[in-house]
């Protein structure tokens, strides 16, 4: 969109300084410039800004939870209220079947849901990027085999695979992250491989090879920086599906039973009979929280994507 226009002034600004500053400073200057340019374009996507605001709010809530509600909200013994109390001045969202304060539980649950979402997405994207870059760099039988496996994973029902993994592993936050991470990487691998192929066909890669750059040098110094923007956008998008996946696993009773998460709260609600009793106030808050956070990450991801790749037309 405006990338080529805003590139002009940047290069003219940078050229006279080549003599005075080192290459490292120059690189940092360029990075700062592209970050500023990125932010300027990101700001024009209203949905993306809204998503970012919502995320900041939730992140703040999750980080300050030990101060605002404290870890004893999840303790079943000595719960402050009676079982399944309707919302009142004392308990704004009511209480659960153990008499625990639901508002506190929802706030506390943000920690697990966000943590699992973030880490699972990072793991998934890391695997995807590693496989994508190597499959794009080393052609031949390695790439063929690896891409076959990727295609196989791509059509697999991700959640069914994650559920299968969770049934054979112990129930803890670590295994949930692992189960989500190792089942959601194929899309990233495909995207990164295509990008790697595009980068590696450029003349400067040939130059690097001619100057004696090895596989590691080319992959880490030339390919990786070029796939980073894509990886970033992909991470943001995958976080939202990872949060949904975590909630789903918890709802199916495959979550960590010792921690409070939004999906786990919904499972508790269902098991306590909140549905047939029509106690909607028990079900609404955790679900709304999941939906808002997942939507916010999706909106951010789409905004990042359309800034990096205006031709994609996701938000046109």
């Amino acid at each position: 969109m405006t990338t080529t226009e805003s590139d002009g002034p940047m290069t003219t600004e940078a050229t006279p300084q080549v003599a005075t500053v080192g290459p490292r400073t120059l690189a940092w200057q360029r990075r700062r410039h592209s970050a500023v340019r990125f932010w300027r374009q990101y700001r024009t996507h209203r949905a993306g800004v809204f998503g970012l605001a919502a995320l900041s709010l939730f992140a703040l809530i999750a980080l300050t939870a030990p101060l605002t509600v404290g870890s004893d909200v999840q303790s079943v013994t000595g719960a402050p209220g009676g079982p399944m109390e309707s919302p009142s001045a004392r308990f704004p969202l009511g209480t659960d079947q153990f008499g625990r304060n639901l508002l506190g539980l929802v706030v506390w649950g943000a920690r697990v849901s966000l943590l699992v979402g973030l880490l699972a997405a990072v793991l998934s994207v890391a695997i995807g990027a590693l496989i994508g870059i190597t499959a794009g760099h080393f052609r031949g039988w390695y790439a063929t085999v690896i891409m076959r496996i990727t295609d196989w994973f791509l059509v697999m029902p991700t959640l069914v695979l994650a559920i299968a993994l969770m049934t054979v592993m112990s129930r803890s936050i670590g295994t949930i992250i692992l189960a989500i991470g190792v089942t959601t990487w194929p899309t990233t691998a495909r995207l990164v491989r295509a990008q790697t192929l595009a980068v590696e066909s450029r003349p400067y890669i040939e130059r690097a090879k001619a100057l004696g750059g090895g596989h590691w040098h080319i992959m880490s110094r030339h390919v990786l920086p070029n796939v980073m923007p894509l990886v970033l956008a992909q991470t943001t998008l995958i976080i939202s599906s990872a949060i949904l996946a975590e909630a789903t696993l918890a709802f199916l009773g495959l979550g960590d039973p010792t921690v409070v998460s939004w999906g786990g709260l919904l499972q508790d609600a269902r098991e306590a009979g909140a549905v047939s009793a029509g106690k909607w106030w028990y079900l609404v808050p955790p679900g709304v929280a999941i939906a808002v956070v997942a939507l916010a990450f999706t909106l951010c991801g789409r905004a990042v994507e359309s800034v990096l790749n205006p031709k994609l037309g996701v938000t046109r």
């Binding site: 959640l159 695979l161 995207l191 295509a194 990008q195 949904l244 909106l299 990096l308 046109r316």
Partner: protein
């Protein structure tokens, strides 16, 4: 850096769209070339199915502890009984022998015996399969039609109010956990809330004791809420895919030509733009079927629909490993088979494939 990255990102993001058959399509659309293409696809599908079979065997042998313990559910049993159970389920044999037995039996349609129902897994699956097909089929047709319809309209007036509303709503529904939406619908429309009486049954597939046409109506009545839930959470994806595929076609010269011929706007859209945009959409709809399978599991669980998803949930809570394993195989192979079907149909739809 960004200046270099930007143009190539376009190529990169075209990646998943090409993940479909367009890359490996036949060179010329002659019958032999198509047959070779079909053979290649079927071979690939066979390898994938075999991989699923192997995965489902070894994955569920990774489980720590003795599977016999799950069968007895923590009851006190004598060592003799445990040995009897092991023999009954073939767990006393060496792993490789279990594996060859398993593969041989799987080829004849025997997927083992369920721990909790004490019945062949294949029987439980074939009992539940028609119910799942009814629910999934209805929802699939509805959400695909709705997604393509709304996606087309959105792209045609991209940036307009209705586009923004549609895209926003689709993204929101896409972010909602399907099981939560199902639970809310049950509370509002089945249990009844405030002035709304309980309009729909809370779950199950039939009230029982009905025959003939009354039975059909009864099942349809039970079907409405689960289908609404599935359609609501799934149509957004089709909408977005259709929309971006159509947006890619919007600037094409052939559309300008069609307009220059004096065709009505509506005709340009229906006859020229949409058929071309549908091609990548079809591939992605089938690739995304995996998500629908997940949706079905949750919706059936929430609505106690007597299908494969509900069965999967029951099997998970024990865990009833042979049943989980069998259902895993069924879900994965269903998606593989559907994707292969889409691959086979694709070159017939698009003469340009592979050219």
């Amino acid at each position: 850096m960004t200046a270099e990255a930007t143009p190539s990102l376009v190529e990169a993001t075209d990646g998943p769209a090409q993940a479909g058959p367009s890359v490996r399509g036949p060179r010329a659309r002659t019958t032999t070339a198509y047959l070779r293409y079909v053979a290649g696809k079927l071979g690939g599908a066979a390898v994938s199915l075999l991989a699923v079979l192997v995965t489902s065997f070894f994955l569920f042998r990774l489980i720590p502890g003795d599977p016999v313990k799950y069968m007895t559910g923590g009851r006190q049993v004598s060592a003799g009984q445990l040995a009897h159970y092991r023999e009954e389920f073939g767990l006393d044999l060496p792993l490789w022998q279990q594996f060859t037995d398993y593969c041989g039996k799987a080829l004849t349609g025997d997927l083992g015996t369920s721990y909790q129902f004490r019945a062949p897994v294949i029987d439980k699956i074939s009992e539940a399969l028609p119910n799942t097909l009814l629910l999934t089929g209805t929802a699939f047709v509805l959400y695909t039609a709705l997604g393509i319809f709304l996606g087309t309209r959105s792209a045609w007036r991209a940036g307009g109010t209705s586009d923004r509303l549609n895209t926003g709503l689709a993204l929101t529904l896409y972010s909602i956990p399907s099981f939560w939406l199902g639970l809310l619908l049950i509370i509002v429309f089945s249990v009844g809330m405030g002035p709304i009486p309980g309009l729909f049954p809370t779950g199950g597939m039939e009230s029982g004791g009905k025959e003939g046409f009354a039975y059909v109506l009864d099942v349809a009545h039970h079907l409405i809420l689960p289908v609404v839930t599935l359609v609501a959470v799934e149509y957004g994806q089709t909408l977005l895919v259709t929309r971006s595929a159509l947006l890619d076609e919007m600037g094409s010269d052939y559309l300008t030509t069609a307009r220059a011929k004096g065709l009505r706007d509506d005709l340009v859209r229906r006859r020229h733009a949409v058929p071309n945009a549908l091609l990548p959409t079809v591939t992605l709809i089938f690739i995304n079927l995996g998500r629908t399978v997940a949706g079905v599991i949750l919706v059936e669980t929430v609505f106690s629909w007597p299908g494969l998803g509900g069965l999967f949930y029951q099997a998970l809570s024990v865990p009833d490993l042979p049943l989980v394993q069998g259902l895993f195989f069924v879900f994965a192979s269903a998606v593989i088979v559907m994707n292969t079907l889409a691959d086979l149909i694709y070159p017939l739809l698009d003469p340009r494939v592979g050219r």
